[in-house]
Amino acid sequence: MSTTTDVRRHRGGSTIAWSLVGPTLLLLIAFNVFPLIYNIALSFTNRELVGEDSRFVGTTNYTRVFSDPLFAGALRRTALFVVCAVGAELMLGFALALALVREFRLKRAVLAVVLVPMMLSPAVMGLYWALILNGNYGVVNQILGSIGLPQPQWLTDRDLKFWSIVVVDVWMWTPFMALIALAGLSAIPPHLYEAAEIDRASRWRVFMRITLPMTAPLLGLAVLLRATDALKQFDLVMATAGPNDAATQTLSTLLYQTVFRDGKIGLGAAFACVVLVLVIALATVFTRYLDHLRRARET
């Protein structure tokens, strides 16, 4: 990691400055702040996807949101998804990074292959995973069957399908964790390990005292990035289970069902507003953490 070169700033020239950053800021405000406001306005109406007649209904939609078992369920499920998927990705990714940190022949090639899944389209790959995990003719069950093992119904068993989606997510995003963990591991100065060797510290101790603390800030960043992403989980659920399956419905798919299937825009907007408050809270934590990291690096 390099430190940012401290560049002196042009003084004055604020017209130029604003004309450089202005267009971007305006676009972002138009597409983010405006929808936010519009959403809030819509959430107090009974607007529907078709038909023009809508009226002010007060806080009815919000009462519904907070009493709706579907919303509570989706919230709980999304939280579980974030914790489990990101947790598994962190552990597996860290293990992979530990294995990959030392130099070996073909390391670059191996790294390239291992990293590919995170760059692919979740919607397309999710669809394809639905074929791989199909209970009837999916390759996973064919292999299990041919060696005489039971064939679980990955995508249909109500206790399993949620976890199958977690597995696909882990497939996609473990490389992400590995990539960041690898950067953290590579940045540990070798002299620390040498010192530990002189002290005859046990492997476990070295790991707990040197490896983990030295990589922790970066891992924290990775976890936050992934968590905000996993919170939006939509593509994989749509591809494997559809928006309306009680066992797998996340916040995003519930929103989709409400707005595009049931046509309830007002209610959907209320859902969205509550979700946005959560997201903004998380984003605040994230940006603060980033700020903290940056300051730590500068000192």
Binding site: L49, N136, F260, R261
Partner: protein
């Protein structure tokens, strides 16, 4: 200002702007999109064989009138969303919509479909339309005499089975030995269960039956209701939308419980199969019997020839009800009057007896014309026409009120929980009934 403050400031700004946002008027709808080339109409339907047949008929129409007919096929999984997103625009991309029977309530009450009550009788004798097709595919409210569609595809759930397996002497003998009766096409659900159990041999990758059981749209509901009705249950009261005390009855519970048992007699994943997957389990040669819409059967027939047979759905205590499928043709209100006139010309042409007779020669071109359905010639034309014509007389539909989608969602959810064993069936139906009444009350239908 730190990022936290920024966020809260954003929220504050947002809530302040709420008033102006809520009071501001919607921008006027944009001028209608690119003008259609004159003399052509666009029909939307989902992607399946009957739509190909309709396109062929469209070419006949073009020969006669010079008006081009474009049938666009959209995969079923996203059909509904696409259609209703279109209706949100100022002008729909389609002129004629072949919409699912259950949408008619929304189409009629939200003024998306052109009302045809006065016009349709001028081009077709309504008495020739099978009363059940009229009731479920065309009218809203059911049986009100207000028409919002002309029948296009009449469809019902039927039974397809592997005739070659049923006629295999070894199988027949084994069945006789095991159950003390001859192996034949099941007439009752109890027979069906026995035959399915007989053919269920996971070791040799042979399975008893596949039934629609998908949770993402309407599969499970369309499958389960065949039994729900046969076992004496119902979704709502005969003459009203009352649900509590109507749905949560022993008949409904028995029907769903029986369905649950049948789902165990299928291939892996039988607990959640959409129509396509049910079909796949049959076309990959692993399953003895499937329940599916008649409209798929021409494809099966083409693949298997005389190795396959077709029948009406089984009965329970002599009561047989087939789940209705099929779609009516509606005209979008969001198109210029000239296009509406062209669309009417096409529908009028399509409803003629001679065109309906052509329609039935297309794969799964299932007419609603009662006379044709009754005719011996129609019944003898294919192996599935006979059972189909018979099913039309006993078909029933789920709800078609404007909030049908929400009713479907809760139905899929609670019936799903019952079938998956997450909740006792009686309890699930009790809660479902309460949920449904809440939805109906919210919509002012109860």
């Amino acid at each position: 200002m730190n990022p936290g403050h920024l966020c809260s400031t954003l929220l504050l700004t947002a809530s302040l702007a709420l008033l102006s946002g809520a009071c501001s008027k919607e921008a006027p709808p944009p001028a209608s999109g690119a003008a259609q080339t004159p003399q052509s109409i666009t029909v939307w339907w989902f992607q399946w064989a009957p739509a190909d047949g309709l396109q062929e008929l469209g070419r006949e129409f073009q020969k006669e009138t010079g008006i081009e007919v474009k049938v666009e096929q959209i995969p079923l999984g996203s059909y509904q969303e696409k259609v209703f997103l279109e209706f949100g625009a100022a002008r729909t991309r389609f002129d004629v919509l072949i919409g699912d029977s259950q949408w008619i309530g929304r189409g009629a009450t939200k003024k998306l479909y052109v009302e045809l009550t006065d016009w349709l009788p001028t081009v077709v004798d309504l008495k020739t339309i099978h009363p059940r097709a009229a009731k479920y595919l065309c009218e809203y409210p059911e049986g009100s005499g207000k028409w919002f569609a002309a029948p296009c595809e009449t469809d019902a759930v039927g039974l397809a089975y592997r005739k070659d397996w049923f006629e295999d002497p070894a199988e027949k003998q084994a069945f006789q030995a095991k159950y003390g009766r001859a192996l034949e096409v099941p007439k009752s659900w109890e027979d069906f269960q026995q035959v399915a159990e007989f053919f269920q041999r996971p070791d040799t990758k042979r399975y008893g039956c596949s039934l629609p059981s998908d949770r993402s749209y309407d599969g499970l509901t369309m499958g389960v209701q065949n039994l729900l009705w046969a076992f004496g249950g119902r979704w709502h009261a005969e003459k009203s939308n009352k649900v509590v005390g109507e749905l949560d009855t022993p008949g409904s519970v028995a029907g769903i419980e029986f369905y649950k048992k049948l789902l165990k007699l299928g291939p892996n994943g039988a607990e959640r199969m959409d129509y396509g997957q049910v079909l796949e389990s049959f076309t990959n040669g692993s399953t003895a019997m499937i329940l599916n819409y008649f409209a798929f059967f021409p494809g099966i027939q083409k693949q298997y020839g005389d190795k396959v047979g077709f029948a009406v759905v089984p009965a329970h205590d002599g009561k047989r009800v087939a789940s209705l499928g099929g779609q009516g043709m509606s005209i979008s209100t969001r198109i210029p009057p000239a296009q509406q006139e062209l669309s009417k010309r096409f529908i009028a042409w399509f409803m003629q007896r001679k065109v309906q007779e052509q329609w039935i020669t297309k794969p799964a071109g299932f007419t609603a014309n009662a006379d044709i359905l009754k005719s011996a010639a129609f019944r003898a034309q294919t192996p599935y026409n006979g059972p189909f014509a018979e099913s039309v007389d006993s078909m029933q539909d789920f709800w078609n009120v404007p909030v049908f989608n929400e009713l479907l969602t809760v139905t899929q959810r609670y019936v799903g929980m019952a079938v998956d064993g997450e909740m006792p069936t009686a309890e699930a139906l009790k809660q479902l009934a309460i949920e449904k009444e809440r939805i109906l009350k919210d919509a002012g239908l109860l």
